[in-house]
């Protein structure tokens, strides 16, 4: 911290009769843990997560409990549940405030953390851990959390996006899914028919809300499009493939009526729409009030594709207990515990990815559904667009893309303006 801030803090402390030194006591006395074994119960670890699901937190607690039984130096391991919507902001605020957790879940913040050396490299530790079986990890899921060959976060959750179908609504509108080779055109046609017949929505891209355009990354790969070049330096929103993908979406909202327009809330899980694109992990939201099916994402003109949404867990290098935190991470993600975590989070380990294994703990989906939607799809899946500086790219892109969501939008021109807006950020 700067001298000026210290001065301010000192005045603040003086003003309210506190001494600044007395308040920072909890960060002292732990600098020497790397050289000598820590005293029993002297190490407290904190891990930020965005789930508030009690079962999931209970599982983490029980794993932490068994780890503590073997490691007397660990005093406590707490899992701090931060709200998903503000997760990145809250985590960076903690980091900026010098109050960073020891371990953290991360989604699209990973690139920023890796490029700022804020994460501890994991590959060597995991490879050296007895029985951890590093080669079990699928390459397609580690790429987003690696820099070169070095892994910086363990991708504990790799949840594929799937198409959820409200078969009740389809039946009401006299529609059926084609036996095989479902395409986006089919989805749009059926969706429009459902909309016309029932007044309910056609297809909904969950969480898109005409704002989080990142989610459209579940659609445009079907047209062979991508947000930016593979090295992340060139915007490719203005490509012909992307233009076609957005023409499809624009027509769906404004011509065919197969996708509810902006400013219209339609919740698939409340029975408001025929289809939704959402992660397999959202199956827990199905409450049985209507008949449903879950199928792989439809094909686009460029053929079959699959998309996963990922979450990783890593160790912050600012932690006072890097060694203990990394050791706990290796324990948390070893084959036995990875199998436990797989109840809730599709695992990155090839050995755990079978339909039956996943179905054992997922009452909402059948083994066959899980096999086709999850297991067969993960190895070739692409991820949602991910780049350093995610918040600013998201905001600048959204600002430009808002012009897309009017009936008379010029699709090509809007996509050009998206590139104008985000290209400077990509090449930074």
């Amino acid at each position: 911290m700067t001298t000026a801030t210290r001065l301010g803090a000192a005045m603040l402390a003086a003003a309210i009769g506190l001494t600044a030194a007395g308040c920072s006591a909890d960060s002292t006395g732990s600098d020497d843990t790397s050289s000598t074994p820590a005293a029993a119960g002297s190490v407290d670890l904190r891990m930020t997560v965005w789930t508030s699901n009690e079962d999931q937190l209970a599982l983490f607690d029980s794993i932490a409990e068994s780890y503590r039984a073997e490691h007397p130096e660990i005093g406590s391991i707490t899992f701090e549940s931060l709200p998903f919507a503000d997760y990145n902001t809250t985590l960076t605020t903690q980091i900026a405030g010098g109050n960073a957790p020891d371990l953290a879940w991360m989604g699209d913040l990973s690139e920023d953390l890796i490029s700022s050396d804020a994460l501890v490299p994991l590959t060597e530790k995991l490879q050296d851990t007895e029985g951890w079986n590093y080669d079990d990890l699928l390459d397609s899921v580690t790429a987003e959390f690696s820099d070169g060959d070095e892994l910086y976060a363990y991708p504990f959750s790799n949840s594929p996006f799937a198409l959820y179908v409200n078969t009740d609504l389809l039946a009401q509108a006299g529609q059926t899914l084609p036996a095989d080779g479902l395409t986006w055109e089919d989805v749009s046609t059926i969706g429009a028919a459902v909309n016309a017949a029932t007044g309910k929505g056609g297809f909904v891209l969950r969480d898109f809300d005409y704002a989080s355009w990142n989610v459209l990354g579940t659609v445009w790969p079907g047209w062979g499009a991508a947000a930016w070049s593979e090295d992340g330096t060139e915007c490719t929103f203005d490509s012909p493939e992307m233009t076609e993908a957005f023409r499809f979406l624009h027509d769906a909202a404004f011509v065919d009526g197969s996708m509810p327009g902006p400013g219209t809330t339609a919740d698939f899980f409340a029975g408001d729409s025929a289809f939704t694109v959402a992660q397999v992990s959202r199956a827990s939201l199905l409450d049985g009030s209507f008949a449903y099916d879950v199928v792989p994402l439809p094909e686009g003109p460029a053929g079959e594709y699959s998309v996963i949404g990922q979450a990783g867990v890593g160790v912050l290098s600012s932690s006072d207990h890097v060694e203990e935190a990394t050791d706990f991470l290796a324990y948390l993600t070893n084959p036995e515990n990875a199998a436990l975590l797989a109840q809730y989070f599709p695992p990155p380990r090839e050995s755990l990815l079978t339909g039956e294994a996943l179905a054992a703990n997922n009452p909402k989906l059948t083994a066959e559904q899980l096999q086709t939607v999850v297991v067969d799809r993960i190895p070739d899946a692409v991820t949602l667009p991910n780049h350093a500086n995610p918040a600013e790219i998201a905001q600048k892109g959204k600002t430009a893309l808002d012009a897309m969501w009017t009936a008379d939008a010029d699709v090509e021109a809007v996509l050009g303006s998206v590139c104008d807006a985000i290209q400077p950020l990509l090449s930074r």
Binding site: M11, N88, A118, G263, A391, Q395, T399, D402
Partner: protein, 297 residues
């Protein structure tokens, strides 16, 4: 005999200093020192993840000129603040005039118009977010009377109108009550005298009421402008600054830069620019008050 050091005057002065000390410390520690720090931050580039502060001189200030989004942000800020102030003060005054008389139910009306003030901004804005949806309550109500409502929050102009109107409805109660107080302070004899002279309602309002309540007008104008320039929750919950940049006011932009994009140097620079605006506006009003504020004591 020597006069005692602690004369009444001296003791009084000491009491005065002691009485203002807590307030003064509060302002110095929680306002002036942070403003000084903000100036320092604005001269630096701050990498949050590394915890590194690099002195960059006037770079952040120069970036103001190169920021392609800033002109629209300033425009939106001007429209929003101007709209809120004009609407808030005129509506507040109109309500006060209408309710400054005795009739059955006047208390009920005062309560209704004041009630949104006690509803938390976030709850209020959440509800309006529902009502303003394309398939929401407002359009449903409009369709009953045969009007095909627009998609309020998806069009830049109507979104701006929506945030202004929801802000005014929520906060106009305070101004209404302040004006009521001022109106009740106008001596009744003045009105009677004017009536005897044959003055009409409009003339009485312009010649007598307005000048006499002009000090309140100044106070409400200052409070409302400062409030409008700080309207954060409304924007964050209702529109997130969209569509496009249409409702991205300076306050929201500062928050994005500093806390979402983690660019604290630039965020501080923007914030200081905002402070400059507030100061200039207040100074301007203060200077102009001699022209239009009737009695100044």
């Amino acid at each position: 005999m020597k006069a005692p050091f602690w004369t009444t005057r001296r003791r009084d002065a000491l009491t005065g200093y002691l009485f203002i000390t807590p307030q003064l410390i509060g302002v110095v520690v929680f306002v002036l020192v942070p403003v000084g720090l903000a100036v320092w931050y604005s001269l630096n580039d701050w990498n949050i993840f590394r915890g590194e502060l690099t002195f960059v001189g006037g770079e952040n200030w120069a970036a103001l000129l190169d920021d392609p989004q800033l002109p629209s942000v300033l425009g939106a800020t001007a429209v929003f603040s101007g709209g809120v102030v004009v609407l808030n003060i005129s509506l507040g005054l109109a309500l006060a005039v209408m309710l400054n008389r005795r009739f059955r139910g006047v208390t009920v009306f005062r309560t209704m118009f004041f009630s949104p003030v006690v509803v938390s901004v976030v709850a209020w804005t959440l509800v309006w977010g529902f009502l303003l949806q394309d398939n929401g309550g407002i359009n449903a109500a409009l369709s009953v009377v045969g009007i095909d409502g627009t998609n309020w929050l998806q069009n830049g102009n109507t979104a701006m109108v929506a945030v202004i109107v929801t802000q005014v409805i929520r906060s106009v109660g305070v101004n209404m009550v302040l004006f009521l107080a001022a109106l009740q302070g106008v001596p009744g004899e003045l009105y009677e005298a004017a009536r005897i002279d044959g003055a009409g309602d409009a003339a009485i309002f312009r010649r007598i009421t307005l000048p006499l309540i002009s000090p309140t007008l100044l106070l409400t104008a200052i409070i409302t402008i400062v409030g409008a320039l700080q309207a954060f929750a409304q924007i964050a919950v209702l529109t997130q600054g969209g569509p496009g940049l249409s409702t991205t006011v300076l306050v929201y932009y500062v928050f994005q830069q500093a806390f979402e994009f983690n660019d604290i140097g630039y965020g501080s620079t923007l914030a200081l620019m905002l402070l400059t605006f507030v100061m200039l506006l207040t100074l301007l009003q203060w200077q102009l008050r001699r022209k239009w504020v009737f009695h100044e004591n």
